[in-house]
C-alpha cells in the first residue's frame, strides 16, 4: 500500500494547496498591501484605532463569557448523560446534532420572537408576575445566541471523553479512600481535559468571529469584529483593510489552535 499511497495522495495535496493554503496566502497578500500593491502594515495597525479595538475587545469579552457559560452548562450535562445508562451512544449525539437541520439563521431569529418586549418569554414572565426580561438588542442577547448555537460543540467532546474514562480508574480512586469531590478533581477532570480543551476551541473561535448572531440579536448597533470585517468586504469594499483585520483575528485563532494541539495530542476530544 505504501508505494501506491504516494500518488494516491496527489489529488488531495493539490486540492489542499489550491483551496486551503493559497487562499490563506491571498489574505496575507491583501492584508499586507495597499490599493496600489505596495507593502504596508497600515491594515494591521488599523486594529488599534478606537473603533476597531472597541469591536475586538467587545468580541473577546462576549466570546470568552459565552465559552465560560457553555463550559459550566455542558460539563454537568455531559456527566449526567454519561451516568445515564443510555444503551445507544448515537442517540445522545443525535439529539444535539438534530437542531442543525433547522436553518441556523432561522433558529437564531426565533430568539427574537422569544425575547422581544412582548415576546413569548415576557408573556410567560408577566403571567407569573415576574419582572420582564429586556435583553433583546443588548450584548446579553448576543451571548445567549452564542451559547445557544455553540453549546453542542462543548457538550459532545466532553461527553465523548467522559465515556472513554475507564470505570476501573474511578473505582480504584474510590477504593483508595477518595470521596466524590476528590475523585472528580483528581481523576475525572484531568482525564477529561482533552475534551474540555477541544470544546473550548470549538466554541471560542466561532463566537469570537461571528457576525450573524450579533446582527440578528444585537440590533444593528452593536458591532463585533466579525461585523467590521464583513462590512469591509460586502459594503465598504476595502478588501485590504478587511484582510488586515482578519490577519489579526487569525493570531487569536492560532493561539487557540496551538493550545488545543498541546492538550489534545491524539485528537481524543473530537466531536464524533
Amino acid at each position: 500500500m505504501n508505494s501506491k499511497s504516494k500518488y494516491l495522495s496527489t489529488p488531495y495535496i493539490f486540492w489542499a494547496v489550491s483551496f486551503i493554503l493559497i487562499p490563506l496566502c491571498m489574505i496575507f497578500y491583501y492584508g499586507l498591501t495597499d490599493k496600489t500593491g505596495a507593502f504596508t502594515l497600515e491594515n494591521i495597525s488599523a486594529m488599534l484605532t478606537a473603533e476597531h479595538s472597541k469591536a475586538l475587545l467587545l468580541s473577546l469579552g462576549l466570546s470568552l463569557l459565552s465559552t465560560m457559560i457553555c463550559l459550566l452548562l455542558a460539563y454537568p450535562l455531559a456527566m449526567i448523560l454519561n451516568g445515564m445508562q443510555v444503551s445507544q451512544h448515537s442517540f445522545i449525539v443525535f439529539i444535539f446534532i438534530l437542531p442543525m437541520w433547522m436553518n441556523f439563521l432561522l433558529r437564531t431569529l426565533a430568539w427574537q420572537t422569544l425575547l422581544e418586549k412582548t415576546g413569548v418569554i415576557n408573556s410567560v414572565l408577566s403571567f407569573l408576575h415576574l419582572p420582564a426580561l429586556n435583553i433583546i438588542n443588548t450584548p446579553s442577547a448576543i451571548v445567549l445566541g452564542m451559547v445557544y448555537n455553540f453549546l453542542p460543540f462543548m457538550v459532545l467532546p466532553i461527553y465523548n471523553v467522559l465515556g472513554k474514562i475507564d470505570t476501573n480508574v474511578v473505582n480504584a480512586a474510590r477504593d483508595l479512600g477518595a470521596n466524590g469531590v476528590q475523585t472528580f478533581w483528581k481523576v475525572i477532570l484531568p482525564l477529561s481535559l482533552p475534551g474540555v480543551i477541544s470544546g473550548i476551541t470549538m466554541v471560542f473561535v466561532p463566537a469570537l468571529t461571528t457576525f450573524v448572531i450579533s446582527n440578528l440579536l444585537g440590533g444593528s448597533k452593536i458591532l463585533l469584529i466579525g461585523n467590521v470585517i464583513e462590512q469591509e468586504f460586502t459594503q465598504a469594499s476595502n478588501w485590504h483593510l478587511g484582510s488586515g483585520l482578519s490577519i489579526v483575528l487569525m493570531l487569536f485563532i492560532i493561539v487557540n489552535m496551538a493550545l488545543s494541539a498541546i492538550f489534545d495530542k491524539d485528537g481524543e476530544g473530537s466531536m464524533l
Binding site: 437564531t108 483575528l249 485528537g267
Partner: protein
C-alpha cells in the same frame, strides 16, 4: 439528586428546542408578521408550492449539499487512505493542513476563498460555492474515516493481493466494506454541514445565486416570509423521521458491536 439531574436535562432541552418549536408554531401563524399571533392556518404550506424563488433556493441548497458531500466523500476517502499509508511527518503536516478549514473561523475561510476566486477571475456563483463547500466538507469525511482505517488489519489487503486480486478489486472487497460506516457518517456529516452553512456561502456566492440560508439573510430586514417557516418545518420533520428510522429500527445489534469496539480501543 436524581430529580435534580432530570430537571437540569429537561431545562437544557427546552433551551435547545424552544426556538425550533417557535418556528414550527410560526409556520401555522395566519398573521404575516412574526410579532403577533393571527390564528391557526395551514395556508403557508400551500403557497410554498407556488413560491418559485424559495423552491429555486431549496433546489440550489439540496443540489449543493448532495454534490459537495459526494465529491468530498470521494476525495476524502482517497485522502484518508493515502494518509494512513504516509510516513509520520508527511501525515502530520497534511493532517494539520486538513484541519485548517475546520478550526479556522468560517469568516476567514469564506473571505480567503472569495479572494482566490476573484483573483482567478472566476464568476462567483454555483461553481465557486460548490468548490468552497467541498473544501470545508473534506475534513469531516477524512476525520470520520481515519479511525476506521487505523483499526484495519493491513494483512487482509496484502493477502487479497497475494491471492491474485487487483488492487482496485482488493480495495472494494477488503478495505471498503470495513470503512463503509465511516464513509457513510462522513457523507452525512458533510451533507449536514453544507446544508446549514451560511457564512462561507455568503462570501463566495455572488449576486443572483441564493441558497436557503442566504435567502433568509436578505429577508431578515424586510421580514421573513412565512413560507420559509413552513419549508423549514417540513425539512426538520422529514429529517427527524428519517433519522429515527435509520437510528432506532434495524441495526441495534450493529451498534452494540460498535460500542464494544470503542471500549476496546480505549
Amino acid at each position: 439528586m436524581k430529580l435534580l439531574k432530570r430537571i437540569y436535562i429537561i431545562l437544557i432541552f427546552i433551551f435547545l428546542y424552544a426556538p425550533i418549536v417557535t418556528l414550527m408554531v410560526l409556520s401555522f401563524n395566519a398573521s404575516k408578521t412574526r410579532a403577533k399571533w393571527g390564528g391557526f392556518t395551514g395556508k403557508w404550506y400551500f403557497s410554498l408550492l407556488d413560491d418559485s424563488i424559495i423552491l429555486q433556493a431549496l433546489q440550489n441548497t439540496l443540489l449543493l449539499a448532495l454534490l459537495s458531500a459526494l465529491i468530498a466523500t470521494i476525495i476524502g476517502t482517497v485522502a484518508a487512505i493515502s494518509l494512513t499509508g504516509m510516513k509520520k511527518r508527511g501525515r502530520t503536516l497534511l493532517l494539520g493542513i486538513t484541519n485548517i478549514p475546520m478550526l479556522n473561523a468560517e469568516i476567514v475561510t469564506g473571505i480567503s476563498l472569495m479572494l482566490l476566486f476573484i483573483t482567478l477571475k472566476m464568476r462567483l456563483g454555483f461553481t465557486t460555492v460548490l468548490l468552497s463547500h467541498i473544501t470545508f466538507n473534506i475534513p469531516y469525511v477524512i476525520l470520520s474515516i481515519m479511525p476506521r482505517l487505523k483499526q484495519l488489519n493491513p494483512n487482509t489487503y496484502e493477502a487479497a493481493l497475494d491471492l491474485g486480486a487487483s488492487p482496485l478489486y482488493a480495495f472494494f472487497k477488503v478495505i471498503f466494506p470495513d470503512i463503509l460506516p465511516g464513509v457513510c457518517s462522513g457523507f452525512l456529516m458533510a451533507f449536514t454541514m453544507s446544508l446549514d452553512d451560511f457564512i462561507i456561502t455568503h462570501f463566495t456566492k455572488g449576486p443572483g445565486f441564493d441558497t436557503l440560508s442566504t435567502k433568509i439573510y436578505t429577508e431578515v430586514r424586510k421580514g421573513i416570509k412565512p413560507e420559509m417557516y413552513a419549508l423549514s418545518t417540513l425539512i426538520f420533520i422529514t429529517v427527524l423521521i428519517l433519522l429515527i428510522l435509520v437510528n432506532f429500527l434495524p441495526n441495534s445489534k450493529n451498534q452494540a458491536g460498535e460500542k464494544k469496539s470503542r471500549k476496546n480501543q480505549a
